[in-house]
């Protein structure tokens, strides 16, 4: 067997009806690598990372995550998902649970970690994302930035091997973006394998090893952040960058 990455797309295709939303995607993400995925709206970047944990199914091609083939009947998706954290644009915290309960729910019920131990770890994680004083707050009592940090802590509570971020700062007020990005930088620096859909170029430059640019369902360009931002190779990426870097 050839050496595979942590996340390995090999000729992956997906359709929504007649629309080819992922076109022959081949992409390998190595362990501890941080890959930023960017591209215009509707280019398929969210769909791409949602395939990794099976929130979307693929039509053909192979997608191998942590050595297991996604969508294969022999693969236990439920257990594979425990190794993959997913951070949503709209946070999706559980509104009927406190911040701490949000963080400990899956560790207790899915990972079967004893409650006391899970709560201790949960408190440490909330402290790590700067929310030690919000342990007992409900999501509705938190700002967007705070909610997203709880959501990141919730993923970390499962001790995942991979973290996926789907536009984690797009729903936030500008002054809250940096507090979330700081947490993501810290996670990246601890060696997490990450795929991040974002237009935050500062984040990409700081921690990403690679930037992947998508348009109309295909990967158009891929390179180091420096190469991509300073010397984009295609017209489409140049046009895209001129739009997002204008302001």
């Amino acid at each position: 067997m050839t050496k595979t990455g942590m996340i390995d797309f090999r000729g992956v295709n997906k359709w929504f009806g007649a629309l080819n939303v992922l076109k022959d995607i081949t992409l390998s993400v190595e362990p501890r690598e941080v890959v930023v995925v960017c591209g215009p709206s509707g280019s398929g970047k969210s769909t791409l990372i949602r395939c990794v944990n099976g929130l979307e199914t693929i039509k053909d091609g192979n997608l191998i995550v942590d050595g297991q083939r996604v969508g294969d009947p022999a693969t236990n998706m439920t257990s594979l998902r425990t190794e993959i954290g997913f951070v949503f644009q709209s946070f999706n915290l559980y509104p009927h649970k406190t911040a701490l309960e949000n963080v400990t729910l899956a560790p207790i019920h899915v990972r079967k970690i004893p409650r006391a131990e899970a709560e201790k770890a949960g408190r440490e994680l909330l402290a790590k994302v700067g929310l030690a004083d919000k342990v007992n707050a409900y999501p509705a009592q938190l700002s967007g930035g705070q909610q997203q940090r709880v959501a990141i802590a919730r993923c970390l509570g499962m001790r995942p091997k991979i973290m996926l971020f789907d536009e984690p700062t797009s729903a936030l007020d500008p002054e809250m973006i940096s507090e979330v990005l700081d947490v993501m930088v810290a996670v990246a620096e601890e060696g997490m394998t990450m795929m991040v859909v974002t237009h935050e170029m500062g984040f990409a430059r700081k921690v990403a090893q690679r930037v992947v640019f998508m348009d109309a369902g295909a990967i158009v360009e891929s390179g180091t952040p420096d190469e991509f931002f300073s010397h984009p190779r295609t017209d489409r990426s140049r046009a895209f960058l001129s739009k997002i870097l204008r302001h």
Binding site: N53, L55, T78, S79, R81, T82, I84, G85, F86, F88, S90, N92, L93, Y94, P95, H96, K97, L105, A106, H109, V110, Y138, P139, A140, Q141, R154, C155, M158
Partner: protein, 223 residues
């Protein structure tokens, strides 16, 4: 008409009204519990992907919603003995109310579950929860809150519907009013009195609704 309204007759019949009221309360309560069970089972069937369970549930709910409760009551009252089930009127009445209200409750619960945003399900799926875990830990606790007020509304409807059981001679509240009206030929005394008792029951259930919404409003607030 009201100048010869006889409060004395009402007082005379109060023990009968009292017994009727008590019967109405407990048979409604039993029927509501039955309806909850019927509703939960129907709703679970209705939320399955395959048509095998869904189709019969949908057909049942449609049939109940499309036909008058009185017809359903007579259907059971005259139909069950033909199938060999000879049951007391009271039992037939409770079964009829449970089966009828259950269809409405199934839809109330389904609406509650479907009102939970898709993102909640996705978040729990992404964290590796099984179907049962995400229903138990994430979806149902949230659906429960939005379901309580319409469920109590259905309870009010059920109490009023139980008046129909007087037609199969169950000795509940409306039956008491009928007896007074026919014994003394005093329909105003009979039916205004039971109306007052139904109003009283209504306010009791409404009080529960207010209490529960206050309680649900403070525990785990949603913005």
């Amino acid at each position: 008409m009201l100048e010869n309204f006889s409060f004395r007759t009402i007082v005379e019949y109060l023990p009968l009204f009292g017994q009727g009221l008590v019967t109405t309360v407990w048979l409604s309560a039993l029927s509501f519990v039955g309806a909850l069970i019927v509703g939960i089972v129907l709703c679970a069937m209705n939320l399955q992907r395959g048509w095998l369970f869904r189709a019969p549930a949908k057909a049942y709910i449609d049939a109940v919603r499309a036909t008058p409760l009185l017809a359903q009551l007579y259907f059971l009252y005259f139909g069950l003995p033909r199938l060999g089930f000879v049951l007391p009127e009271l039992v037939v009445g409770i079964i009829a109310l449970s089966l009828n209200s259950g269809a409405y409750i199934a839809e109330i619960i389904r609406a509650g579950i479907l009102s939970i945003p898709r993102g909640q399900v996705e978040a729990s799926v992404a964290s590796g929860m099984t179907y049962v875990q995400r229903m138990r830990l994430v979806v149902l606790p949230q659906a429960f809150k939005v379901t309580i007020p319409p469920l109590l509304g259905q309870a009010i409807v059920l109490v009023k519907d139980s008046a129909l059981l007087s037609l199969i001679s169950v000795a509940e509240l409306t039956r008491a009013g009928q007896l007074l009206a026919s014994d003394r030929f005093m329909p105003a005394e009979g039916f205004l009195t039971i109306a007052a008792f139904y109003l009283l029951l209504y306010y009791c259930i409404k009080g529960l609704a207010v209490l529960s919404s206050r309680w649900l409003g403070t525990a785990g607030a949603r913005a």
